[in-house]
Amino acid sequence: MEDPKKGMSLIVKTITRLTVGLILLFGIYIVSHGHISPGGGFAGGVIIALSFIHIMLAFGKETAFKKLNQNIASCFESIGAIIFITLGIIGIGSGYFLYNFMQKGEPFKLFSAGLIPLYNIAISFKVGSGLFIIFIIMVLLKISKKEG
C-alpha cells in the first residue's frame, strides 16, 4: 500500500505497523477511563495525535494523509468544541452553564459520573486534532518551502 522509497527503513515500518494500533487503542483507553483512573481528555488526545504522527514519521505524509486529512482534522477540532459548548448550554436548562445534569451512576463503572466522560471525549477530539494540525503545519510547510 505504501511507497517503499518514502519514509524510513523497512525495520521502522514493520515495527510501526505492529505498534501504531496499540498506541491508538491506549489513547482511546486513557480518554474513556479518564473519570476512573489517571489520565483524561488532554493526555489521551495527545496520545491519539502521537499515533498519527508516528505513521507520518515512518511512512511519509501521503500515507498519513490517507488516514487523516488536514481538513478532516480541522473538522474534528470544531466538532470537539461544538460538543463541549453544546453540553454546557444544555446545562442551563437544569441549572447553570456547564451543569452536570445527567445521572451520576455507580462509582468505578465505565458509564458513570454524568457528563464528565462526554467532556473528556470532546476535549480529546479538540486536543488531538489541534496538536496534529500544529505538527503538520510546523513540519510540512518547512519542507515544502525548502523544495520550492
Binding site: 473519570h35 489517571p38 452553564f97 468505578f108 505538527f135 510546523m138
Partner: protein, 172 residues
C-alpha cells in the same frame, strides 16, 4: 525526599547542558531529559495525571523541535557588550530575588496546605460528581469554565501557528 532532590539536581544539570551544548541536537535531547525528570518528580509527588500529561506533551514537543527546527542552526553571538549584558543580568537577578523574598515569605511550608476548598473537594467530590478520579472532577465539573478557556487557548494557538507559518499570501 532524597529521591526528589536527586531528580531536581539531574534536571538542573540537564538544563545547564542544554544551554551550554555546542550543537542543537544535543540541546534538544538535554531539554527532553529535563522533561522526563519533571514527569518523574510529579510521580514521586503522587500526581499521576500530571505525570502522564507531562510525559506525552514532552514527547510531542521533542518530535516537533527535532523535525521542525533542527535544520536552522542559528549562530548565537555573545561577543561585544559583555560587561553591559552581565551587569543587566545581575541587576535583574537582584530585583527578582528581592521581590521573591517578600512574596515567598508568607507562603505555607512545603507539603502543608492550608487551603480549605481542597478538603471540600476531597471529601465531597465522589458524592457530588460520581467520579473516582478527583482530578477529572475538579477539571471538568467544579472548574469546567477553566477547561473551556483552555480549549479556547488551544484553538487560538492553532490559529496563530497557521497565521505565522503559512506560505500562501506571504510576501517574498
Amino acid at each position: 525526599m532524597l529521591d526528589l532532590q536527586i531528580i531536581l539536581v539531574f534536571m538542573i544539570i540537564g538544563a545547564l547542558i542544554a544551554v551550554k551544548a555546542k550543537d542543537l541536537l544535543s540541546s534538544v535531547i538535554a531539554v527532553g531529559t529535563v522533561g522526563l525528570g519533571l514527569s518523574l518528580a510529579f510521580l514521586i509527588l503522587k500526581a499521576p495525571d500530571l505525570a502522564i500529561a507531562q510525559l506525552v506533551v514532552e514527547i510531542l514537543c521533542i518530535i516537533i523541535l527535532i523535525r521542525a527546527t533542527i535544520r536552522k542552526d542559528l549562530p548565537f553571538s555573545t561577543s561585544g557588550r559583555w560587561f553591559f549584558n552581565t551587569f543587566i543580568t545581575f541587576v535583574f537577578i537582584f530585583i527578582f530575588l528581592i521581590f521573591g523574598y517578600f512574596c515567598l515569605r508568607d507562603l505555607p511550608s512545603f507539603g502543608n496546605p492550608v487551603m480549605k476548598i481542597a478538603h471540600t473537594f476531597l471529601s465531597q467530590g465522589l458524592k457530588q460528581t460520581g467520579t473516582t478520579n478527583l482530578v477529572s472532577a475538579v477539571v471538568l465539573d467544579y472548574r469546567a469554565y477553566d477547561t473551556l478557556g483552555e480549549a479556547t487557548i488551544l484553538f487560538t494557538a492553532v490559529m496563530g501557528v497557521i497565521a505565522v507559518m503559512r506560505s500562501i499570501g506571504r510576501k517574498k
